[in-house]
Symmetry: C2
Subunit: 197 residues, 2 copies
């Protein structure tokens, strides 16, 4: 039916502005590409990078650090490419998060240790875009008596967040028994090293 084919071809060429046009996005997209673009659009607002669902803040990348300083004052920041993330009381029951900031190379990185039942997930994300994050490599080390466990990877951007990575075990994953091997008096020290990839 010639008339229907014609209608389909017209529909394929209709473009719609990205929903983040008001934030500055200049892209126009055909219907079938719109959702996928909006998912990774640079102008999509940034959510608060702190783990847990309680903080509903969102804004532009430029305002994230100020939000952390104002609304999340208790997060420790360490300076340097090679630091120690000390997670205290790791035997606490239930779901727990330990969070820290690391400043180096003119950037801020957020280190998260998440405990879910008997599994631990440790990951690093950059307060920055995905393109910026791709430039770095992070290394997490658990050091014990004649034992070492190491994870090396590219930091996630806070734009993508860490929940998907944790779901896919795309980070340092270890169980309660391993934590016991490496901890001292219920505290676990994780060596975190950031370098240019």
């Amino acid at each position: 039916n010639i008339r229907n084919l014609g209608m389909e071809k017209v529909a394929d060429t209709i473009v719609f502005p990205c929903k983040y046009q008001t934030n500055g996005c200049l892209s126009n997209l055909v219907h079938k590409n719109k959702l996928e673009h909006e998912d990774c659009c640079d102008f999509r607002p940034y959510m608060c990078p702190c783990p847990g669902a309680s903080c509903k803040w969102q804004g532009s990348l430029e305002n994230v650090m100020q939000h952390l300083w104002l609304a999340h004052k208790s997060i420790t920041t360490l300076q340097g490419e090679d630091i120690v993330f000390l997670a205290t009381d790791i035997t606490l029951l239930g779901a727990v998060d330990w969070v820290m900031m690391q400043s180096c190379f003119g950037h801020h990185f957020m280190l998260v240790l998440e405990k879910q039942e008997q599994q631990f997930f440790a990951i690093v994300q950059l307060i920055g875009s995905r393109q910026q994050a791709e430039k770095f490599v992070y290394r997490l080390e658990l050091n014990g008596s004649k034992r070492r466990l190491t994870w090396e990877s590219t930091p996630k951007s806070i734009h993508d967040g860490i929940q998907q990575a944790i779901l896919l075990s795309d980070c340092l994953v270890f169980d309660g028994a391993t934590a016991l091997l490496f901890s001292e008096n219920g505290n676990l020290a994780i060596n975190v090293t950031v370098s240019i990839g």
Copy 2:
């Protein structure tokens, strides 16, 4: 009661020969130390180091390699300090073991990858005594696209075996999701490096 104290003091000084005297052990022990000694006695027979409970072989250390060559012919041996242990079909259900031998530094090492439900355990043991094993260090690496997981430790002696270490997560431990991240077409390559500690 003076007479009872006397009896206790006599009992404390009675020594018994180690149960492995016929294998060459010259130790004599007071009752309370006997079991602990026999557990780590150098003259305790060596069990077959292959994982799984089916092989009941036991003998002296000198005869272990010959037993492996005669009764476990299908185990691959690779030469060198730095080799690749390729575990095929890691998505197989149930409890599975992959076994390999690595020859270097004039010694034989047994590499075991064990799958229990959704967890994997990878470990290296030396065909040798505990004193010999203490001299070495082994490293296991999973390498992926911009990701690396590494475990470094002292090999166990086959005299102690690997079951206790696996129970305590004293080895490389990873889950199904991690295995998926690092595998290709259902096969997982583990880089194994042995060095002098």
